[in-house]
Amino acid sequence: MQLINRAMAGTLESSDAQISIAPGKDGIVLHIQSTVQNQYGRAIKQSVLDTLSKLGIENAEVDVNDRGALECTLRARVECAAYRSAGIEAGIPWEEM
């Protein structure tokens, strides 16, 4: 997937996560801020990297502001931010996710 713009998805509300994503040059530059950093920091990182990899994104700046989101929420927010960044609004291959 080709990222074009800086885009955002999600909210800062409890049990959600806000993802900001922008095109990058040197791999995935990931920054995570989370209310449950100590317990789940590594799991959050793994989920985000995994989701990006499934979307075929190799270079991006990603900021995660997690407010205790469940993994499914986190993945959905990352996907949504990525599609917005790529300017894709229709024809999303839901089955592949």
């Binding site: 713009n5 800086r6 885009a7 955002m8 999600g10 909210t11 800062l12 509300e13 409890s14 806000q18 900001s20 922008a22 920054h31 801020q33 900021d63 502001n65 407010r67």
Partner: protein, 324 residues
């Protein structure tokens, strides 16, 4: 509870004014969108403005603090900003509230004592801006100008600065709130100082004299906030100056604008405390009249091109001819 636009409701806007008043926050009239949260009884319990790249006048009713209203409100405002293509967002808040915003993804740019902290939603935004600035050498000075348009007065100030400095950093105000576009103003400055030894032209980015930092500069009227905003702007400059090893700031004396005058006063007061000399240079006068960009604009507007052009260097005259 959701955060929604409230601009169209006179009742909610009146409640908003009362909420800001109770919270001790100065109300700003100009806003692109006003958001609020209304509780189950129809009462407004949180509010905030989006204006340009900044979120302003944010307040949460005392009875609702600790209920994460702020996150809901700021999320809705950020969504609005992103949807209209503004992804780099600033907030200006009191120092005591800075940790709350730090908790929801805002990073400090600069602060003016306890009165104001400027924060941005982009990690490393300001650091990245500073890192990308071209460096000078030796004794280094700086000028910040809007150059709307670039006049012989601006050129005179740059020449004075170059006489006593090896490098002169000239920052052109990025904000597009002027008659001449940023691109045109930048070109005027670049061409106008091309022959001045050591001149380096930069954009202020969204940092110095931006609407986010210094809204009253663009309101053209004095208000309580001017001194605080000027102090905040001075602190942004101090950080840039430290990184570039700038030890002198040059400003032109300001006979016309009260806001700029106040800004100059704050700079003269603040910069020396951080080891930066602040030199005020008397304005250039031509035919007994102080050269000012606002004067040039009004002459141009009234069609008196000849008198306007007498105050402009050839390079600016050429660019204006191309635009008009």
């Amino acid at each position: 509870m959701d955060a929604v636009r409230i601009d169209s409701s006179a009742r909610l806007m009146a409640e908003r004014d009362a909420l800001l008043e109770r919270s001790g926050i100065l109300r700003e009239e100009q806003a692109d969108a006003v958001f609020g949260i209304v509780d189950g009884e129809g009462k407004l319990v949180a509010c905030g403005n989006c204006r340009g790249c900044s979120l302003r006048c944010i307040a949460v009713d005392e009875s609702c603090r600790g209920e994460d209203m702020l996150s809901t409100l700021v999320s809705a405002m950020l969504e609005y900003q992103f949807m209209r293509g503004i992804s780099h967002v600033f907030i200006c808040t009191k120092a005591k509230n800075a940790p709350i915003f730090a908790g929801i993804g805002f990073y400090e740019v600069a602060r003016a004592g306890d009165a104001a902290v400027l924060m941005e939603n982009r990690r490393g935004g300001f650091g990245g801006y500073i890192a990308a600035l071209e460096r000078g050498s030796g004794v280094q000075g700086a000028i910040v100008m809007n150059a709307n348009p670039f006049t012989l007065g601006h050129r005179y100030l740059a020449q004075r600065a170059a006489e006593s400095c090896d490098s002169v950093h000239i920052f052109v105000v990025r904000e597009d709130a002027s008659e001449f576009s940023f691109e045109d103003r930048l070109r005027m400055v670049r061409e106008g100082v091309k022959d001045i030894r050591g001149a380096i032209v930069h954009s202020t980015g969204l940092y110095m004299v931006s609407r986010a930092v210094f809204p009253s500069y663009f309101l053209k009227r004095t208000e309580d906030a001017t001194a605080v905003q000027a102090a905040l702007d001075a602190n942004v400059f101090i950080k840039i100056a430290a990184a570039l090893s700038v030890s002198r700031r040059f400003i032109g004396s300001e006979p016309f604008s009260a806001v700029t005058n106040e800004y100059n006063r704050v700079l003269m007061d603040t910069l020396p405390r951080y080891g930066i000399e602040c030199r005020e240079t008397e304005r250039l006068t031509i035919n007994g009249c102080a050269v000012s960009a606002s004067n040039v604009r009004s002459l141009l507007a009234s069609g008196d091109k000849e008198r306007a052009f007498a105050l402009l260097p050839k390079s600016t005259q050429r660019i204006i001819e191309q635009i008009l």
